[in-house]
């Protein structure tokens, strides 16, 4: 069982596919150090084996070392999911000394100009390359996480080579999943079918070539799938997410489903929320399913797919995920992917705290990129 600990929503980057909700939490509401420490204890007692310290950018929290040390004390494996740009050698050594076991570093692209434009942070890419070296120098295992989409997929080969050059043992090639910010930016991100097929071939060839050197995990985009992914390995089965303010979610995007009730670690023990909290009970198991899921022989393989995606595309969180070809909405999803990937749209709505009031879920409003021009990924 794993826990995603979103320590903060603060982040120096503003990636247009950020997995944080549109309604970002501000620093003042964040759990305190003490609250996180007891949450880590409760997670260990519940049987959480790995904690993924994430955000936002988790390294903005100065107490990160203390939280990692507590995880280590409780024999829970700690993973840092970071953009890296705030790290230096001293901090990395301190995190390693606290017991950190693995670092996952994001890259937005293989080249500086494009990577910095996508992340909305000038100089970020070069900093990340340096940080990768520091992580390896500290003896920590390194995974590169590369979110891929229409505007960087043609450089996938370069991203793979770069990961090898940086000394990473693993690379996650993750096609954008379309909820929240990415949903708002779908038209600028959606790959074409042809791009997807070439990317899949590239990954398969690289896996062969780099056996024993670089392991590649590959997350495919739902919009071109025939069967949905088993999102989170099934709702409330092996994953729990704690948000910066302590809300306990079955999936990090669950707040995009607007009629859910979430409890927080400030209100009830983690184990109790996991056991019978309304958010976890709602889609746990198969009892909630309607047709075609209810009688499907894959109902305990994919658990009906993704609830957030079902909600985003049908308005009904209990509907079959439209990624499934058995969903009555599947054709609609395929058509969306086809039309949007064929459009020449490149402008992003950048993730930010101050702009969130400008649009809502699924809105087609698109804001201009930053005035300095760094918003153009092809610059």
């Amino acid at each position: 069982m794993g826990m995603l600990a979103e320590l903060t929503h603060r982040c120096p980057l503003s990636c247009p596919y950020c997995s944080n909700p549109l309604e970002l939490e501000r620093a003042a509401g964040e759990l305190t150090t003490e609250e996180w420490l007891w949450t880590i204890d409760e997670a260990a007692d519940l049987g959480v084996l790995q904690i993924h310290f994430s955000g936002g950018e988790p390294t903005v929290r100065r107490d990160l070392e203390r939280l990692i040390a507590r995880a280590r004390e409780r024999d829970v494996y700690s993973n840092l999911i970071t953009a890296g740009v705030l790290l230096d050698r001293r901090r990395i050594d301190a995190l390693a000394a606290a017991g950190l076991e693995h670092v996952q570093l994001s890259l937005q692209d293989s080249r500086s100009a494009s990577a910095d434009a996508i992340g909305g942070y000038r100089g970020g890419h070069e900093k990340k390359l340096a940080v990768a070296g520091m992580v390896r120098a500290a003896g920590l295992p390194l995974t590169i996480n590369a979110v891929v989409h229409r505007q960087n997929l043609h450089r996938l080969e370069e991203l793979i080579d770069l990961s090898v050059a940086l000394g990473a043992e693993r690379l996650e090639v993750a096609h954008v999943q379309y909820y929240g910010w990415a949903y708002a930016n779908r038209a600028a991100l959606m790959p074409t079918r042809d791009q997807l097929d070439r990317a899949t071939d590239t990954v398969e060839a690289a896996r062969d070539r780099l056996k024993g050197i670089l392991g590649i995990d590959y997350v495919v985009p739902d919009y071109y799938a025939r069967r949905p992914k088993a999102c989170m390995g099934g709702w409330g089965r092996r994953f729990v997410n704690v948000t910066p303010v302590g809300k306990v979610l079955p999936c990090h995007a669950a707040e995009s489903i607007t009629d859910m009730t979430f409890e927080a670690v400030r209100e009830r023990p983690l184990a109790a929320i996991w056991e019978d909290g309304p958010a976890f009970e709602r889609f746990r198991g198969t009892g909630w399913m309607a047709e075609p899921c209810r009688s499907c022989d894959r109902r305990e393989v994919d658990f009906g797919g993704c609830r957030c995606q079902a909600f985003a595309l049908t308005g009904d969180a209990a509907a079959t995920d439209p990624a499934c070809s058995l969903s009555p909405r599947h054709g609609h999803m395929v058509a969306l992917a086809k039309s949007e990937s064929g459009a020449d749209r490149r402008d992003f709505v950048y993730r930010s705290m101050s702009r969130r009031e400008h649009f809502g879920r699924g809105s087609s409003a698109v804001l201009r990129p930053p005035a300095d021009g760094s918003g153009s990924p092809e610059k």
Binding site: G47, L49, D217
Partner: protein, 94 residues
């Protein structure tokens, strides 16, 4: 070294960021690795527990055969299969 090259005389060890853990909540041992968890059966645990970066696969199989009073050939074969599988996943190195 690649997974295919792992043989009886190889000296395997757990990869960087990979370790064993007693999973008290569910009972039994697991292998924790970057962003994955593998549930181990007793045999797999017995083999992995003995990886110390010094002993060869043959040494490990011999010690298991002695401890469990079991046929050494079968244990060596099973140990190699397990370790090659984990090496292919990048979790065991030589």
């Amino acid at each position: 070294m690649t997974a295919d090259a792992l043989g009886a005389d190889s000296v395997p060890r757990l990869g960087r960021g990979v370790r064993l853990k007693d999973d008290a909540a569910r009972g039994g041992w697991v292998l924790l690795a970057p962003e994955r968890v593998l549930v181990l059966d007793d045999t797999a645990h017995a083999v992995l527990q003995r990886l110390d970066g010094k002993r060869t696969v043959r040494d490990i199989a011999d010690s298991l055969a002695a401890e469990y009073d079991a046929p050494g050939g079968a244990i060596l074969r099973d140990s190699l299969a397990l370790l090659r599988d984990l090496a292919a996943k990048g979790l065991v190195k030589t």
